[in-house]
Every structure is written in structure tokens, then in C-alpha cells.
């Protein structure tokens, strides 16, 4: 199958998934308790005013009309206005996307940089001290809840040792890039260091579980590959051990791991909520939690849609990459 057909097929599938998510999100609003009008109005408001507000929000229309109103705005980027602040949902959500993406990518980078070498060391020193160390680390990493880890890192590294800021995001990567492209290299450098300084703890917090997971996957995958006949054949033809291990075994081990990393990146985009909350990180998770608390339905819908689109896009990218690195799959999948 050609690449164009593969991509078209995956994009159509993705659009279908997003439509499903949108419909469920709409349904949730309909069945969830709490009338949006109550959020906007004081309890003792004049019934006439109340009716007027409900009409303005379009909530007196039949459901299918409301559904059409809602869904027809999405392709043109109209997700409605916030009930609490009156701002455009699209603009508010778009503003928080970079923070979430930065955090998710940083957590993934931390995880991959630590986990893959650790998994390799573990697999190539099976049943020896480094293997036990790595196994212990990954067990601890998988079983540590990240709200606890985040708070502990703040207490020890920020409050006690004062190495890192306790919370927030002083500068975003887009701002750093703006400096860079306008030629203000010094400002860009300083901005990047600040960015790194602020993102380190949230990235570690978010990435620890993921690091542990990838370590285990790398270890078991590599042990699996090392037992295959082609490894013996590679040694028989005289390849040095470094080539056997990295060019053949690790490469093949990483093929399935790419899928996991990709899926996990999607999860991180939506699942950074707790970490963002602990570190007061101004991302999608923050927006989502705040708008749920204030029954700001358009905002909830908007953030959920953006998260699901992100997930779908990441998946398509991962599948494309997977077909590229694994010749057996091709673009037939």
C-alpha cells in the first residue's frame, strides 16, 4: 500500500475516533448533574432572566439541534465561549497546549534517556548486580504514585536544598524560540536555561513511571532477542559483540518500544493532570480541572476534544514510524 493511501486511511479512522469522543463528551454534559445556568446566575434570580439566559446559551433547543450547533463549530475551530470568563474556549485551550506538550515531551525524553541504557545494562548483565539494581529501580518507579513523588521532590530538592523552583512555568519554549529567531541569542540561552530549570522536577515526576515501564520492556525485549538464532548467526560470522548487541539486538528490541513510547506520549498529554496540579503547571490539565470545578462545560468539552485529537495524531505518527522501522509491517497495517 502506498504511503498516501495509508495516511488517508489513518486520518479517516482518526476523524471517526474524534467524532466518537465529541459525541460522548456532548452526551456527558446532557446527563451530568448541574445546570449551566446555575453557574452563571445567583440562586434567587428572576425566572424570566433565567429563561433568557438559558435561551442565550441555546439550552432550550431540542437535543439534536444543540448537538448540531456544537458539532458544526468544531471543524472551524469554534468551541464556544467560557461560561465563567466569557473568553473564547479555542483561544484559552490553545494557550495552554504548549505547556502540556513541553511537559509530555520532556517526560518522554527523560524516560527514554534513562530507561533504554538501563534496560540494556540490565539485560546484558542478567542476574548480576546491575540487573538487580535496575529491576529494583523499575519496581519502585512503577509503584510510586506521582503526586507523592512530586511533593517529595518539591520538599527535598526545592524547599530543603533550594536547587529547583517549587512550581510554575516562568517561560515557555515558544518564547525561547522567538528570542532565538529574532537573533537575541543571549536572551534565548538564558530563557532556555530557565525553562529547563522549571521543567526538570515536573518532567521527572511525570516520567518516572514511564521510565520504569520502558526499562522493563527494554530488558525483557532484549533478553528475548538475545535468545534468537540470528544472534548466534551474527556471532558465527564474526561480528564484534557491540555490533551484535546494538546494531541487531537493541534495534529489534526498540521496534515494539516505539509503539509503547508513542501511546504513552498520548497518555501523558491527557494524564499530566495531577502533575500539572502539583506543580501549578499552566497546561491543559489545569484548564480541565478548573473548568470542571466551576461547571464550565464549554471549557471542559474543548479541553477534552483537544486531548483526544492529540492522542489520535500521536497514534498516527507512531504507526507511520513503526511501518518505517519495521520492514515486515510496511504500510499495510
Amino acid at each position: 500500500m502506498s504511503f498516501a493511501r495509508f495516511l488517508t486511511k489513518r486520518l479517516l479512522q482518526g476523524a471517526f475516533v474524534v467524532w466518537g469522543v465529541v459525541t460522548i463528551v456532548f452526551g456527558l454534559r446532557v446527563i451530568a448533574p448541574g445546570d449551566p445556568a446555575n453557574v452563571l446566575l445567583p440562586p434567587d434570580v428572576d425566572p424570566e432572566v433565567r429563561r433568557q439566559v438559558v435561551a442565550d446559551l441555546g439550552l432550550d433547543e431540542p437535543l439534536h439541534v444543540q448537538y448540531w450547533e456544537f458539532i458544526s463549530g468544531i471543524p472551524v475551530g469554534d468551541l464556544g465561549t467560557s461560561l465563567t470568563t466569557g473568553t473564547e474556549v479555542t483561544a484559552r485551550v490553545a494557550r495552554s497546549i504548549p505547556a502540556t506538550l513541553e511537559l509530555a515531551v520532556a517526560a518522554t525524553v527523560v524516560a527514554v534517556i534513562i530507561a533504554i541504557p538501563l534496560g540494556v545494562v540490565s539485560a546484558t548483565n542478567r542476574h548480576e548486580a546491575p540487573d538487580y539494581g535496575a529491576t529494583l529501580f523499575s519496581l519502585a518507579g512503577i509503584s510510586t504514585p506521582n503526586f507523592w513523588l512530586g511533593v517529595m521532590l518539591i520538599i527535598i530538592l526545592s524547599v530543603q536544598l533550594n536547587w529547583f523552583p517549587t512550581s510554575q512555568r516562568a517561560i515557555g519554549l515558544p518564547a525561547v524560540l522567538t528570542f532565538l529567531f529574532s537573533g537575541e541569542l543571549e536572551a534565548a540561552g538564558a530563557g532556555f536555561v530557565t525553562w529547563l530549570w522549571y521543567i526538570t522536577l515536573p518532567a521527572i515526576t511525570l516520567g518516572t513511571y514511564f521510565t520504569a515501564l520502558i526499562t522493563r520492556l527494554t530488558r525483557s525485549g532484549m533478553l528475548d532477542e538475545l535468545g534468537k538464532t540470528y544472534v548466534r548467526a551474527s556471532r558465527a560470522k564474526g561480528l564484534p559483540e557491540s555490533l551484535v548487541r546494538y546494531r541487531h539486538v537493541l534495534r529489534n528490541t526498540l521496534i515494539p518500544i516505539i509503539t509503547v513510547v508513542g501511546l504513552q506520549l498520548g497518555t501523558l498529554i491527557g494524564g499530566a493532570v495531577i502533575t500539572e496540579f502539583v506543580f501549578d503547571w499552566p497546561g491543559l490539565g489545569q484548564v480541565l480541572i478548573n473548568s470542571i470545578n466551576s461547571r464550565d462545560w464549554p471549557m471542559v468539552q474543548g479541553s477534552l476534544i483537544v486531548i483526544s485529537v492529540g492522542f489520535v495524531v500521536v497514534n498516527i505518527v507512531v504507526d507511520t514510524l513503526y511501518s518505517y522501522v519495521n520492514p515486515r509491517v510496511g504500510f499495510d497495517g
Binding site: 534468537k228 558465527a236 557491540s242
Partner: protein, 439 residues
Amino acid sequence: MSRESPGERDVTPNAGRDSTRERDASPRAHRDTGHERDRLRVENLTTRFFTEEGQVNAVESVSFDVREDEILGIVGESGSGKSVTALSAIDLIESPGRVTDGEVWLREPDLAEEFRERTPDAVDGDFVDLRRLPKGVRRSLRGPKFSMIFQDPMSSFNPSLTVGEQIAEAVEVQRRASANPRSTRSRTQGYGLGKLIVDTLVPGREYTSDASRERAIELLEQVGIPDPVERADEYPHQFSGGMLQRAMVAQALAGEPDVLFADEPTTALDVTIQAQILDLLRDIQRDRGMSVVLITHDLGVIARMCDRVGVMYAGEVVERGSLADVFEQPTHPYTQGLLGSIPDVEDPAPRLQPIEGNVPNLVDSEMPDRCYFADRCPKAMEACLERPAERPVDGDPDHTARCVLADGEYDPATALPDDYFEEDPEATDAPAEGGAADD
């Protein structure tokens, strides 16, 4: 089937063989000078696997020699230790297995010179004992001295690299080794992790060079793969089994090895393809004057291909000698049994004579201190309750058997009764365990 019939059925393949032999008036003609033509001498090689179920004696004091320009067959049932013997000889045994004893002497005058002063134990004339050489030196011999092909070509290639690339890689290793001999013996061969990462990530940088890739295509052509240029860029799953086994042979030839171990090279293939691969192996062996160690369970393949044969049973070589010696005058009752268990098209005897019983499982604690075959042997005698040594058959040092019958006669008077091993195996095994623990 009579005792002579295995010899008779052997006549046909041998006749065909002799006629081809006459064409190349090779030095094979004078077999007696064989010892001078030794390329590899394996002595008392012993390999154990230390598993959770206990120690498994996969290879038990195996000796054989591989001469220049010959095909040596190793035949035996599955589980008799054939493959492990080959892997032990070229130092490819992996944990939990370990070669625990024995010597692997390779004729390699340069190495012998190099190590004569440093480690005199490891040198004997022009021969070096691989087991006493440093690990890096042993590794550097795989490729230019030894190579190996395996049973299932599909699993013996890395599924995610093209076939051409994998062959080119084997060429490249040797090219780099001759360009920079000093780093050849290091663990990374001067090709460290950093370089590896850069070469993988930076487009246009590859481990293999264009010259190696061209050589890979030449090799593919030499093993009879049509359209080698196109096929080199294909992945293993795009090849048929037979074509892939040809590619495997090409890969094994990349380092121009002196000795090629072929471990059941045709077992996974269709019958029609089997013959093609065997012809290919023999042609290549002749053209290059290589030595081939052909491991198979198929006596027909042995008869068709080999100059000399070793028969393995329960981790031991029970009989070895020239093809004619072993097939026409089999001495060990196991060899006789093997030859008697092949169906014969020309003489469809009403029934075959299978060997009764099963191959022992080789777990150390269950191995008796007697001839391992005695419990299945139709000629077991009291003398068989001791471990037999390998001895020449009728005084011929080139035909040996691990059997008292090699230099003795069957004596019905001391024959063990049929149910001897059934009644109480523990009693006869008891002293064996003490003996085995001392090893």
C-alpha cells in the same frame, strides 16, 4: 535386514561419488597422509549445561579431526549432541552452557608463532589450542577461520535488515580487521557505541561500505541467487526458504573461512530444495578447498556428501572413520542399528529394524557408569558395564569405535539377559553417581 545390506545400499551413491572424484585428481587420493592434512583437531571436548533441572552432559569427551578439503559428517539422533559439539568447537556456547574440558587445536602457524613464548601450553607445532587463547583472539577467528550455517534460515537472519546488508556486514568486519589488525581482537573491534549511534542516526553514514555491499552481491551471485542486485535489497521474509539458505551460505563465505560448520542445513527445506543446497555446499567446498563439517540426522545425506563420518550417541562419538569404513563395516552396534533402520527402496524388506528404547536424556545424575548404549544394545555383555574407551577397529587408527567390539568378539556366554536393565536400574546406577560427581 542382513548385516551386509547397509553396505550394499551404499554402493549406489558411492559409485556416483567416485566418478566425480576421478575428475579432480585431488590430494584426497592418499588418505594415509591425513594427519598431516589436519586443519582442526578436537580432543576430549566436553560441554555441560547447568540447568535448574540439573547438570546436562550434552557433549561427553568428543574427539574428531577435520582435514583439508574434505566433508566430515557428524550423524546422530536429535539430542545426541551434534549441534552443541559444533557450537563448542567455535566457542558459541551460551549460558547456562559451558565447555568444561577438552582442547580445540587449529592449524594456524602465525598464531602459533605469536603465542609460542607467551603461552607454551596453547601451542603444539603449527597448532594452537583455541580454548587457551584470549577471548578476543577466538572471536577474531570466527569469519576468516570458521563459519557456521544453521538449520532454519528464516530465523538465522535478522528480520529487520536487508539480506545484502547482513552479508555486507560480515564482509565489512573482515575488511576492517585487515585494515586495522590491532583493534581486531578488542571487544568492540574499534567500533564503539558512540560511533554506532552516530552511524545509525546520521543519514548517509553506514557501518558497511560500498565495497562491502558490492562484495555481498558477488557472493549472492556465487551461491546461485538470480538477480542478486535486486535481491540484496530485500528483507529475509521476501525470500523463499531455499533462496535464504543460499544467502546464508553466502554470508558464511563472507570471511573466506577454512572450516564451515553446517548444522542440519537442509532439514527445514523441501526435499527438492535440499538436493540443490547440498550440491551447492559440495561445489563450494571443492572450488575453495574448504573443509565442511556437515551435521545431520540423515544418513542419506551423509552417504551422498561425506568423506569421513562420526556417529554420535548420548553426547559421545561412538564410531568414526571413513565413509566406507563406517557404512560398510559398522562396528558399534548403534551404527549398525542406525544403518539397519533406513527403508531400502531396492530391497523392500518386510520390516525395518528400529533400535529399541529411547535416547537417554543426558541429565548427569541419571547417566550410568557403563556404556551408554548397553541398555538398548542387542550385544550387551558383562564387559559393557564399564565405560568403554575409544579404540581402533582392528588396529586401524583412522576407524575407531567406543565399544568393546572394536577389538574384541561378541561372547554369548557373558551376554546380559534381555531384562537386565529393567529390574533395578538404581542398583547398577548407584556407583555411577559417585563417579560422575568426581568429574
